[in-house]
Symmetry: C2
Subunit: 395 residues, 2 copies
């Protein structure tokens, strides 16, 4: 289904010429990768909000989830929608851009300006596509560290993120303990479960089953695996919600009709909602990026780099942690968060944990959740005092 | 992906000339349908085991689930595998074929010999395909009742089934209360939830996104939407298991390798397991049947036919019920079974309920579950005594 339109064209352009800040590294400064080898030239696209103080001590790095990007608190250049975490980040918000210098970058392997499969190769031979190397969460974090170096920030005041973003937070704390003053991993886990790998595999198979995927070379062929990617998104979207949330929102309500049509039309509201989620996703996201980023999550197993003992990942850490999970999140259930808390406790770290009662499922970390906001605000404020940051972000 | 092979050819033939008993109705005896109109000529394929007693009082009707068929206790003619419920049904088993006359028919809309989308039209114009009418659980039960009539059985000793089979059991008890002496609906619900509809919709979209689906007319076109159907099966298969079961079986174990390959190969065992599930399913199942049967489940809402009050569906029933659910079943959680039990209690029915502790998920009803076997045996034996059936199925 080749259906070019404005949003798709805009999205494709974002992969190389993002509507945001971008930091470019030449071939002489390649990025080393966990899978072996390196990539270069490469670039990282990012946004910043607020002002870095003279001490460079008030920087907050926000790590985005699977389908997020650097547009955390501004209108999205492709969709025209508000930033994906404006509920939490902005002037006067729990992560207060009047006090903190907030950085958010597109992940390595993404499609919004950081080097990924949709980015053009240096040799002019089209996009990397499936020749792009499989990257890991640690590779993403290594790329972010290069950006943080460039900004002249030795130690981040806070690293925060949910889901795949939370994995990056944990990896930051493990890889660069002295550079993370405080860490907020939300709705995440230190490894991906078998069930989560299974759901990701279904999504990848859906993309790769689409003949418009063209063995990954769809950009060169002028096609887009929209149907496959939409199916992948639909399946994933169910896992981001909870059964009670779906029941509350949709139940068995029919879509603008009073009786079933006895057909395969979207009779039920939940069907047309899912179809819309699939359709709108493909307008802003690259199918190969979806393959690479789901793979990075599947590979994540922080303890594996530390002889299988998660406690060793945090040995001697001085980072202050706040962990939050949501009762109805079945993608990253509270038990995943508790495993992190246990490891942090065993390593003697400063850690607080809150399990937030909600029926909104995994997506709760992105939604209006007063307890999450209060928790974040309280943790950030206390950490700011501990770092000697006053209300304006100055020392 | 057109890949004809022996199993596929055998499967296609089963739709019209099943390797089982088959009862054919001419155009003068059409089957009325809930969606309006009727279908005819039509046929119902079935198997029987054991001997009907002189009183015709020892018949057990087994209702199969979404992807099951009539081959409940014999080698499957396409796959060569044992019957799908041989753990429960056979000589000396809880449903003892030495005592009872067991009937199992392929559902209306199926693809193993009962009329469905893969069956040939009477006008010789190829298979029904998507011109086949959308059918309901009640339509399936109406077809079964015609078979039971033909066999001269006025009252079934027991109707038993799990999942979609359990929906049919409930519908039997509601539609034909005087013809059901005892009923065993397992791992089921009186309606399909929004989350279940959502998962089914993903599966249908995966099938219909496959260009080899050819707008449903793939048999005439000589193609098969194997990739789409495999993706649908993979997604559904995850919902039949539980996170603990997946963790126990697979965890994050790698597939015949000691380190990740940094590729999109099936690195994890759970990935290759799912791919196998998808591949093997398409060899024995018709894609359009999958669309129709998932739709029938989605439409199922027994209370809707009774002013929204489930209790009215069972008003004055003399049927003896035994309901069983499994603690780790998140497709039909115990709360669904409890809702049935409450309605039965409110209608003054004889009902026992057991919630079986297991980590095997929804599929538990098909697996070795000693508590399920003991429960079934105890219920069946007590019901047999109440009906005056001795140990040999004779009066």
């Amino acid at each position: 289904m080749s259906r070019p339109h404005a949003a798709v064209a805009a999205s494709a352009n974002e992969a190389d010429q993002p509507t945001s800040l971008v930091l470019r590294f030449g071939a002489e400064r390649p990025l080393a990768l966990d899978g072996g080898g390196s990539i270069g030239p490469w670039q990282i696209a990012y946004q910043t909000y607020g002002t870095l103080n003279a001490d460079r001590s008030n920087a907050v790095l926000v790590c985005h989830a699977l389908t997020g990007d650097q547009h955390v608190a501004n209108i999205h250049p492709v969709t025209g929608k508000p930033g994906w975490w404006e509920s939490l980040i902005g002037p006067g918000k729990p992560v207060d851009t009047d006090r903190f210098f907030v950085i958010c970058s597109n992940v390595l392997g993404g499609c919004m300006g950081t080097t990924g499969p949709a980015s053009l190769r240096a040799d002019g031979d089209g996009p990397h596509a499936v020749d792009f190397p499989v990257v890991t969460i640690r590779d993403m974090v290594r790329a972010q560290a290069a950006l943080v170096d460039h900004l002249g920030i030795e130690s981040l005041f806070c690293v925060v993120g949910g889901s795949m973003g939370g994995m990056q937070v944990l990896q930051w704390a493990a890889s660069y303990p002295d550079r993370v003053f405080s860490a907020l991993p939300l709705a995440t886990g230190a490894k991906h479960s078998a069930q989560n790998i299974a759901f990701h595999e279904v999504g990848r198979q859906a993309v790769m089953a689409d003949p418009d995927w063209k063995a990954g070379r769809y950009i060169l062929e002028g096609t887009r695996p929209e149907k496959g990617l939409a199916v992948a998104r639909m399946a994933a979207h169910i896992t981001y919600l909870s059964e009670p949330a779906l029941h509350r929102k949709f139940g068995r309500k029919l879509q603008e009709r009073s009786a079933p049509t006895f057909s395969f039309d979207a009779d039920f509201e939940v069907e047309s909602y899912l179809r819309y989620q699939g359709r709108s996703f493909v307008e802003r996201f690259d199918a190969n990026s979806y393959l690479y980023l789901t793979r990075a999550m599947d590979y994540f197993d922080l303890a594996a780099d530390y002889d299988g003992a998660l406690v060793k990942a945090f040995k001697g850490t001085k980072t202050r942690f706040c962990i939050a999970s949501f009762t109805s999140d079945w993608l990253f259930p509270s038990s995943d968060s508790r495993a992190i808390v246990h490891a942090l406790n065993a390593s003697g770290a400063s850690v607080s944990f809150v399990e937030i009662e909600t029926d909104k499922g995994h997506d709760a970390f992105l939604l209006e959740e007063p307890v999450l906001f209060a928790t974040t605000r309280g943790f950030i404020d206390a950490a700011a005092r501990a770092r000697g940051l006053d209300g304006t972000g100055k020392l």
